[in-house]
Amino acid sequence: MLLTKFKKEVEDILSRYPVKRSALLPLLNLAQREEGFVSEPAMRDIAKVLELTPPQVFETVTFYTMFNLKPIGKFHLQVCKSLMCALVKSDEVVTWITKKLNIAPGQTTPDKTFTLSVVECLGSCGTGPMMQVNDDYYEQLTEEKVGRVLDDLARDGNCPLKSGPFMYPLPVAKP
């Protein structure tokens, strides 16, 4: 059971709130980080710890778009399509990825490495087009940059092009 594996973490989370249910999102995040999605057994376990019924956990899970109810690829490519990114051609980012990986939004590559999603604003409108891959942001994307990110991830599981700590524009060093 997931929660015994992370006993200390769970206890730490629980200690932060006077009301148990508040720990729901953090525990779901924990479960998803572990399994890549929120499984039914995980929801049942969490329900038990928080003294909720499974439907109460379920209703909450389905309200938030970051929770996946089914397994997805190892890297979740989420391209922002909201207006600000769209103005700087985020739709093309989707085309580039589709071309390179041969998957449409909502699909996963056959080797289960990449899942492509098109999402709403991720809060980096000034540095679009952008995408989030798992925990990391990749901004000011170009076709070449997207290619490099995907190659690096597939090969190394990591890519140095990710951004952060965020600051834009970068200050120009005073002469």
């Binding site: 003294e51 209703e59 778009t65």
Partner: protein
């Protein structure tokens, strides 16, 4: 004369030009209702906290910017509200309907709600005939939801009333709004079937046809239905129900918000259990034994036969060779005529009823201590209580609606709850009252007595005592205190597993309560020593000065719908109608005056005694009305031998039960759906039962059968109809005149209390204040087995209800998951359950709320497991107990 505090808290406002005067805190929508202004709404419901999501109830309020939702706005002094008179509000409502209808499938022709649908009604009132919505409607995939409840989410208006009801009122939380925005739909967990209490509340509270009953799906259009208001026949709560019939067929049951003691709430039995009356196995004509079989005969023949046999036996052995047993499911009128028949036509006080199975312990205890045979509190007092102590009652399953009152008090009004109950707090698909408890004493079913003593001891230890009474009743105080001080905390701890600190804390809470009610359930009332425990709980109230305080009192929970009435109508040999004792000269005189015949002088006898007498050949004939002792008592009671020994056994029944199969004559009686009369619920409230369908086959109301028999026996007691009986009862017993909206609870009687504290208590104080000897610490492989009530059934009767069988069709021996895994058992395995009395096979079920070391089996399916149950009889009240034993389990085969 209005008290100043009331006038101060009244607020005056105008709504559509009408002046309303309402208490502070009232919502505008309610104030409007009171002056006859109906504000249209979907999401608002008086039972639920406002959510203001549908935006249908918008009104214009002077001095407020934009339109306000009247369902969430409290009144304020001088407020000027415009509803129908506001063009702006009307316009807004129109647009809300436009929005709702945009995605609504408009499948009214096939919708069971068509004709009683808020959406239809408001649309009719507000919308233009065309919609400007020309886009694709959202369509939810149809999914299987549950065996009894159907969802059609395309019709949902997302008011979340169902979800909020399931949480706020029922405390079940089985419904989940899933997804976001317009794609939100009501589901269970994942793609799983709904697993819940099946109270039907979501169906009833849905303003449209999004949630409907599968039992009646597509069978009717609402305007075809005939409504009959009546009372549920399943448990002591006495819920108002409305039978909806079509062409003499029971189509559905519902209950009206605002009506009845249940205020529109029902449980699975009430909502889905109505098919019993129409079961194909119903007896349709009288049967007379013909060797091994029965032959169907005409009523005349049957009555003549029974009458003659009874006369013969009476002539040969005397009237006391005949006994009668009646069910607490019968109406007051049935019981009244029955006992009158037994007492005057037969001439015996050998009368008993199902009150004997447990409720009598509570009634006798109340009589002895406070001189009432009814509660001194009502459901309303439970809701208003600030402290509640529940002992031996898994109230959700035994008395679900009383349970809702407890939930209301605890969840919404902040009452403190103390529970003494075998089941442990655990979240499951049924609500579990101990989840809400501040102090829960999870004790074995055999240790309730010890836990009650622990609480008493803590009260004395901490001097949470009524000083005035202490002075007035010194010896009572001293004796009890001395007895309690002689008990050691170690011993109490050994039996209950709870230490003195826990008792001290609970005693503090109990003592601080101003409105304290103790609810006692079958765990106490039906168990060995149940009477003594109930007495001790009354002592607890007395010692702490709460017994006579308004809003305080003891509430023994009646199991069958008319247990309380059966007692009050004299369905107990030793008790006369009105609840006075058989020896009460004044009452005897009044009765024989009215009946025109003398009352028999012999003592009354109880069912256990009748069993003994039958075994010894002293009882020759038994008239069993709606009772099934062969199924209610274990073989260890000797009931089998007793019945076999009888020369003559008559059963009045709906079905050929185990007992009826042994009978010489079976007379077909009719069910509560077919008869008129009254039931008295657990709080002593008398309510009207009305026939909704014609008599099935040749069946007859029970009272009519007794009346006909009396004629056959040349001692006619003739009644034209039920009303005549009712009149006779009311003339005789002024206390039964309380038909009305709410019961007036009985008042504890000061003389009775004085008698009790001065002398009467001494009779058994020493025994009651001793820890009962319970079995030596359980050997590791032994479990305490408790056979108890399930939410989905009532006696064996409800096993004829097809709806309820969909939820629970068989008995399982339920264990805690860890207990099961320790024993290598899992859900569905078959085990051999055994003890000194024998062994039986049973499937295993898993439930978190069962404590370790305990197994629970539903009594409704106990035909096999009953063989393992020992039987004891309370010396004082003659209440048999046979619900707890010790067993071992042995796995026979895997699932």
């Amino acid at each position: 004369m209005a008290t100043p505090s009331i006038t101060k808290n009244m607020i005056t406002l105008t709504i559509d030009g009408k002046t309303a005067k309402v208490p502070k805190g009232t919502l505008v929508i309610e104030a409007a209702r009171q002056v006859g202004v109906m504000v249209p709404h979907f999401c608002y419901h008086p039972k639920l906290s406002p959510d203001a999501n549908c935006r249908m109830c918008l009104v214009e309020i002077e001095k407020m910017p934009r339109l306000q939702t009247s369902c969430s706005t409290p009144v304020a002094e001088g407020m000027v509200v415009k509803s129908a008179s506001s063009a702006q509000a009307q316009e807004a409502r129109k647009s809300v309907l436009d929005f709702i209808l945009a995605n609504h499938p408009l499948d009214c022709p096939v919708c069971d709600q068509g004709g009683r649908c808020d959406l239809q009604d408001f649309s009719h009132e507000y919308t233009a005939t065309t919609s400007r919505f020309k886009e694709l409607k959202r369509v939810f995939q149809k999914e299987y939801f549950s065996p009894l409840i159907e969802t059609q989410m395309n019709r949902c208006v997302q008011c979340l009333r169902c979800v909020r009801y399931c949480d706020q009122v029922m405390d079940v939380k089985a419904l989940a709004p899933v997804g976001r925005g317009t794609l939100t739909e009501i589901k269970s967990f994942g793609a799983h079937d709904l697993d819940c209490e099946f109270c039907g509340g979501c169906i009833q509270i849905c303003p449209v046809g999004a949630i409907t009953s599968r039992l009646s799906m597509y069978e009717f259009r609402p305007w075809m239905l005939k409504r009959t208001d009546s009372v549920c026949g399943y448990c002591g709560d006495g819920c108002q129900i409305t039978f909806q019939t079509k062409d003499n067929a029971l189509i559905e049951i519902n209950s009206t918000q605002g009506a009845g003691r249940n205020n529109g709430d029902l449980c699975a039995r009430g909502y889905f259990g109505y098919h019993v009356s129409e079961h194909p196995d119903r007896l349709t004509s009288p049967l007379i034994r013909d060797g091994q079989a029965f032959k169907a005969v005409q009523w005349e023949e049957a009555l003549e036969f029974v009458g003659q046999r009874l006369l013969d036996i009476k002539a040969k052995y005397g009237p006391d060779a005949i006994g009668g047993l009646i069910s607490g499911r019968c109406t007051n009128e049935d019981v009244y005529v029955f006992q009158k028949f037994m007492r005057v036509v037969v001439g015996t006080n050998r009368i008993d009823s199902s009150v004997r199975y447990g409720h009598l312990n509570g009634v006798h205890a109340m009589q002895r201590v406070q001189g009432t045979h009814r509660w001194a509190v009502s459901f309303d007092d439970i809701e208003a209580a600030d402290t509640l102590l529940l002992v031996g009652t898994n109230i959700t399953e035994t008395n679900p609606i009383t349970g809702l009152k407890v939930k209301e008090a605890v969840k919404r009004r902040g009452a403190k709850l103390i529970t003494i109950e075998a089941l442990v707090p655990a979240i499951g698909s049924l609500s579990n009252i101990s989840n809400l408890a501040q102090h829960h004493f999870a004790v074995k079913p055999t240790a309730y007595a010890a836990a009650i003593l622990g609480l008493l001891k803590a009260v004395v230890d901490q001097q949470i005592l009524d000083v005035e009474l202490q002075v007035k009743a010194q010896s009572y105080f001293n004796d009890i205190t001395a007895n309690l001080q002689a008990l050691s905390w170690e011993a109490i701890h050994a039996q209950t597993g709870m230490d003195s600190d826990s008792y001290a804390q609970a005693a503090q809470v109990f003592g601080q309560g101003q409105k304290v009610i103790i609810l006692v359930g079958p765990g106490v009332l039906r168990s060995q020593g149940g009477f003594g425990m109930t007495m001790n709980l009354l002592d607890l109230l007395l010692l702490t000065g709460k017994l006579t305080k308004p809003g305080c009192g003891l509430a023994p929970l009646a199991e069958e719908n008319n247990d309380q009435g059966a007692f009050e109508m004299g369905g107990i040999g030793a008790v006369l109608p009105g609840g006075t004792s058989l020896g009460d000269a004044e009452a005897r005189e009044a009765l024989s005056q009215s009946w025109g015949r003398p009352l028999p002088d012999t003592a009354g006898s109880s069912l256990p005694q009748m069993i003994e007498d039958a075994k010894q050949g002293k009882l020759k004939a038994l008239l069993v009305v709606g009772e099934n002792p062969l199924a209610s008592l274990p073989p260890s009671s000797g009931i089998h031998t007793a019945l076999e020994k009888l020369e003559f056994l008559v059963c009045q029944e709906l079905f050929l039960t185990e007992t009826a199969q042994q009978a010489h004559v079976v007379l077909p009686a009719c069910s509560y759906a077919e008869k008129d009369g009254t039931f008295t619920n657990t709080e002593g409230h008398i309510q009207l039962v009305r026939s909704a369908i014609d008599l099935v086959g040749d069946s007859r109301p029970d009272w009519e059968i007794f009346s006909a028999l009396s004629v056959m026996m040349n001692d006619p007691m003739e009644y034209g109809d039920v009303k005549e009986i009712g009149k006779e009862i009311r003339n005789l017993l002024p206390g039964t005149r309380t038909l009305g909206l709410a019961p007036l609870p009985a008042q504890p009687d000061a003389t009775a209390i004085a008698r009790y504290v001065t002398a009467d208590y001494q009779r058994d104080v020493a025994t009651r204040y001793q820890l009962p000897a319970i079995d030596s610490p359980d050997a590791a492989d032994y479990l305490t087995l408790q056979v108890s009530q399930s939410l989905f059934h009532s006696g064996k009767f409800s096993r004829k209800a097809k709806g309820l069988l969909q939820v629970e069709a068989k008995g399982k021996i339920y264990l805690h998951p860890e207990e099961a895994s320790r024993r290598g058992l899992s859900d569905g395995d078959t085990v051999k359950v055994s003890n000194a009395l024998g062994d039986v096979m049973a499937p295993v079920g898993i439930r978190e709320r069962i404590p370790q070391g305990v197994a629970v089996f539903p009594e409704h399916f106990d035909e096999e497991i009953r063989r393992l149950l020992p039987y004891t009889v309370d010396p004082e009240t003659q209440v048999p107990s046979c619900k707890v034993t010790r067993v071992r389990l042995e796995k026979v085969s895997g699932a």
